[in-house]
Amino acid sequence: MTFAIETNNLRKEFDENIAVRGLTLQVQQGEVFGFLGPNGAGKTTSIKMLLGLTAPTSGRATLLGAPLGDRAARARMGFLPEHFRFHDWLTAHEFLQLHGQLYRMSAARLRQRTEELLELVGLTPFRDKQLRTFSKGMLQRIGLAQALLNDPALVFLDEPTSGLDPVGRRLVRDIIADLKKRGMTIFLNSHLLSEVEITCDRVAFIKQGVVIRVSELQTLVNGATRVTVRANGLTPNVLQGLGQWGKEIRADGNQVTLTVVNESALPAINRFLVAQNVEVYALTPQHLSLEDLFIQIVGTDGGL
């Protein structure tokens, strides 16, 4: 099977610094793929390389089976840029018409899609208003409509919910869920981890220009559990023994916290503690949020 996106060691150097060291990842067709990392990790440069905005210094990539920059493949892609600015002297309707024409859509189909999308993003009443009168949220919506005009097979959404109020965010989330149902591949770059947690199938963590981890979101979120043990008799030996189930052990008097890869480790931990003559008062599992995981995976030193 061909991947929607497949990159092999994509690298981008600017004069002095290396923005992306070597990006290697595969995005399957029909999945919602989250692209996460701290500021300055090379996310935007990576997306720009994939979209042909910036030429990679080295490395290879294919999108929808075609090499980077292939125009036939681009006709099947959509893109909502981050910090996008559009020709704000166009009306919402003209704006979609323009972008549809650039997609070389037929007039009839373009007319139909324009109306559908204005309706989808809730801007039909504003179709004849110039974009410069739009609020940030409305611009984000029209930008999203623009990215979906050609009913793409692959769509890149760069911070699609930035500037949106909770209602708008919900709308975008629903749209993404609907697109996924229709088999569209979505490449989502977002800082709003709660959004990612709800929408993505898989996520990649990128740091200093390399992918440090790719994982199914469900396994990641379900798997990682933080366990807090309240007990008497937590000797250094016991703490060391706990190390076999998890990392990041933090002991504080008669309380110890550790992160285990899987919830199924809990009974074994309990048996171990009892066997060590530890008096257990409480063994409390607590699921980690994606935000906790993010910080655990990329560390706190990444964001600059």
Partner: protein
């Protein structure tokens, strides 16, 4: 074709951002002022008792030509400024703001975007020249029934000059920020302007070194040479022979050759090609 879509967008932008309206209103103001000047100058300058019918006709023809070319000189400058101002920000500005990102990620060639913008501006400048050159000529015609010789050649050369400046601006705009583009263009214009002066003085004083400096400057930027050639074309044959074709602050003493016109066309094509290439290879 994407080129035409972008060209239409460029024209629409000029309309929506009221560039066209401003140019039109100021153009009309210019023409009103010009017609007043034309009328008054003619009244003052014509002798009350000319010595003969023939000398009167020659004088009158010379004066009308002088006034028309003076008007066209101003229009020429305005059109150049217009071409530079509208195109300086177009690529640099859209790259800076990120507007360009949603365009170049569509299934279009980057070259089509540059060519589309060029075509749009070329249309805009054509409209502007029709209004302004047409207006100046209409004033001369209405007030004194005067038509300059070689109108078509003259206008074509003026149009070529404005296209040249616009193209160089677009080229710079594909690789430099807006302000740097503006700086380069006005610097080049200054070279052309002063180079033209030096060449004229050189021709009058028969100083070959000065003429050469002028020729070199018009190789660096051939815009001023196009205007002087246009002015020469539109000068009556008799005045051409005497060598008193008016071209701005002084009379044309050294007439740019056909080769210089061909050179300017080549210059334009190369500048456009460099602009297209620079934009195609640029990280956005």
């Amino acid at each position: 074709m994407a080129t035409f879509i972008v060209a239409r967008l460029t024209l629409l932008e000029a309309v929506r951002r009221r560039i066209l309206l401003a140019a039109f209103l100021l153009g009309v103001a210019f023409l009103i002022l010009y017609s007043c000047g034309f009328y008054l100058m003619r009244q003052e300058a014509m002798p009350i008792n000319p010595r003969s019918e023939i000398s009167s006709a020659i004088l009158r023809n010379g004066l009308d030509n002088f006034l028309t070319l003076a008007g066209l000189y101003a229009v020429n400058f305005l059109a150049i400024a217009m071409g530079a101002l509208v195109s300086a920000d177009t690529l640099a500005g859209e790259i800076g703001s990120g507007t360009i990102q949603a365009l170049v990620t569509k299934p279009v060639r980057r070259a089509e975007i540059v060519l589309g913008k060029w075509l749009g501006f070329a249309g805009l400048l054509a409209l502007y020249l029709v209004l302004m050159v047409g207006g100046v000529m209409a004033v001369a015609y209405v007030l004194d029934g005067y038509v300059v010789p070689a109108v078509v050649n003259g206008i074509a050369l003026i149009y070529l000059e404005t296209l040249l400046i616009m193209t160089i601006t677009l080229m710079c705009s594909s690789m430099l920020p807006t302000l740097a583009t503006g700086g380069v263009i006005f610097g080049l214009y200054g070279i052309a302007f002063i180079g033209g002066w030096v060449e004229q003085f050189g021709a009058i004083l028969q100083n070959q070194a000065a003429v050469n400096i002028g020729i070199i400057s018009s190789l660096i930027i051939p815009s001023e040479a196009l205007w002087r050639r246009a002015a020469y074309e539109m000068t009556p044959p008799l005045a051409q022979v005497i060598g008193i074709s008016f071209s701005g602050p002084m009379f044309t003493a050294s007439v740019p050759s056909d080769a210089q016109v061909v050179y300017a066309i080549g210059y334009l094509v190369v500048a456009l090609a460099i602009g297209v290439r620079a934009f195609a290879q640029r990280d956005l």
